[in-house]
């Protein structure tokens, strides 16, 4: 095992999990929902991409788009089920979290019921070329993964920073009541946010399926990783999530070289707990007054 290879691997995973974590972070900070049905959205968009590859086209971009669209659609579904009915009811955060868990249970069981427990694999969407960089070999899927996730996340963030909808989402993060007075519809913004974050999950699902298989319960581990990265970076902070993704990716690489693969999770959680003990609101720490959790 050489270190460069593992580092690249860790970077790829960091990109993908970082995409998920940023999705979770945005959801939490703008609509106040901890979306634990991400595992289901992830698995469902994997299946969406697989169906597309099976029946429509195996062309890379089409499959990727199919995954993202399925993810966005599932995000809308989760929003309609878990956000719209209860977002103005008491103890929304707890109930929202439990509702997304219930959706996760229902969704994964439906997938299991419909597609069966056998894992599916997607075609290689980035082709099969490679680049030699010194003695490190960069395969197409790795470069594709890194580039695709960074590009999409940057686009989303840029869009949030500059457009009217983005301003809407950011305003709603800060003060939902004032947002209503300004003329921002909480419900419609919720749909936007959930569609975007669902799309991010779909992207991550397709990208990750280049390395792993698609299965009904395959979304769980990525979700847990995404959640822990988001947690470590500070819920609601995109910058924190990005930093945490890189840190945890590095940790993964170093641990698997120094101690062995099965200790990765243990060191990861030790690391997260350590960070949270020092700064209870993650690396970036949520902006003081952004949203009282």
């Amino acid at each position: 095992m050489d270190f460069g290879f593992i580092l690249i691997n860790a970077l790829v995973l960091a990109c993908i999990y970082g995409t998920l974590a940023i999705g979770i972070s945005i959801t939490w900070s703008s609509v106040g929902l901890i979306n634990l049905s991400y595992g289901f959205i992830f698995a469902a968009s994997g299946y969406g991409a697989w169906l597309c590859a099976q029946y429509i086209s195996t062309f890379g971009a089409v499959v990727l788009m199919a995954g993202i669209l399925t993810g966005a659609l599932m995000g809308l579904l989760v929003c309609a089920l878990a956000f719209i009915p209860i977002h103005d009811k008491p103890s929304f955060t707890v109930r929202g979290m439990i509702a997304t868990l219930a959706i996760n249970l229902i969704g994964t069981q439906t997938l299991m019921w419909y597609f069966g427990p056998r894992a599916k694999s997607l075609p290689e969407i980035f082709g099969s070329w490679k680049i030699h960089l010194g003695h490190i070999v960069l395969t197409a899927d790795k470069i594709g993964n890194i580039v695709a996730s960074i590009v999409v996340v940057t686009l989303v963030l840029q869009w949030m920073r500059s457009s009217r909808r983005g301003l809407e989402i950011r305003a709603m993060m800060m003060n939902p009541h004032a947002a209503a007075i300004v003329g921002i519809g909480v419900r419609s913004t919720g749909f936007y946010v959930m569609a975007i974050t669902g799309g991010l999950a779909g992207l991550a699902a397709v990208l990750l399926s280049q390395t792993y298989y698609i299965s009904p319960f395959g979304g769980l581990t990525p979700m847990i990783k995404g959640v822990s990265i988001a947690l470590c970076g500070g819920l609601g902070s995109v910058r924190g999530a990005a930093i945490a993704a890189v840190l945890l990716g590095l940790n993964e690489a170093i641990t698997s070289v120094a101690l062995g693969g099965q200790y990765v999770l243990i060191t990861q959680f030790a690391f997260i707990i350590l960070i949270l003990l020092v700064r209870p609101r993650g690396i970036a720490g949520i902006l003081d007054k952004a949203r009282e959790a």
Partner: protein
């Protein structure tokens, strides 16, 4: 503008929260180009009237016509459910206290007021106009609002309201909690706004700030309006010495 156009027509409006009824069968008309002062003590329903117009009260009953469009609702469907739609009809509510987005910069904040597509396209011009009204904000454009002082926040809040392409501005207690001098400055700024075809209602406890600077003053007492009838018999509204 030729002739007076009804911007807001409130008929038989009652509103309240749960078992409490704050506003009692209120009739209230605001014409275009008008500045109206709404005076009343604490707890007599000024803010609730504004909230009822914006659909933010617990329950309400009666008709609220904004630019000829009925925006009132009879059943209680949870406060704030339709507020954003009412705001898009041309209402700018500048609420009491600080309803601001702490983390956004002043510039973003002003942008967030320009919600309708047209206002969004013209937001650079509108911002320039706001900055003429509130010159102190020029230097603070990129500072997060959470760091501003109370007076500056109020300016941002009012500026946000004025950014909107609204036909009715409801300003709730612009001088509340501010030092008298700053409060007066804020009021001066409000008076200097060119209304054009729109109208403005300013709720205020301090009558002295409004005296002689608005077209009419309505006082509010226990959820009802007072003092609109005297014009009929040609009494000059002289105030006592």
């Amino acid at each position: 503008m030729t002739g007076k156009r009804e911007i807001l027509n409130v008929k038989g409006l009652s509103a309240g929260y749960g078992p409490m009824r704050v506003i009692h069968d209120l009739d209230f008309i605001v014409y275009s180009g008008e500045r109206v002062g709404l005076v009343g003590l604490n707890g007599h329903g000024k803010s609730t009237l504004f909230y009822a117009i914006a659909g933010l009260t617990g329950w309400q009953r009666g008709s609220v016509c904004l630019n000829g469009v009925e925006v009132g609702r009879t059943r209680s469907q949870g406060p704030g459910r339709y507020t954003h739609l009412i705001v898009r009809q041309g209402l700018a509510l500048i609420p009491q206290g600080d309803e601001i987005f702490h983390g956004l910069s002043v510039e973003d904040h002003l942008d967030s007021g320009a919600f309708t597509p047209r206002a969004w396209r013209e937001r650079a011009e509108r911002k320039k106009r706001i900055l003429e009204i509130f010159p102190p904000l020029v230097k603070l454009m990129h500072v997060a609002v959470g760091r501003l002082s109370g007076g500056e926040r109020r300016m941002v809040s009012i500026g946000r309201g004025l950014m909107a392409e609204a036909s009715l501005f409801l300003v709730d207690e612009p001088s509340l909690g501010l030092a008298p001098k700053i409060g007066k400055g804020v009021m001066d700024a409000l008076m200097s706004v060119d209304l054009g075809g729109s109208a403005m209602v300013i709720a205020e406890q301090n009558v002295a700030l409004l005296e002689g600077r608005v077209h009419r003053i309505i006082s509010m007492h226990v959820g009802k309006l007072k003092g609109e009838a005297s014009a009929k018999f040609g009494f000059e509204t002289t105030r006592e010495l």
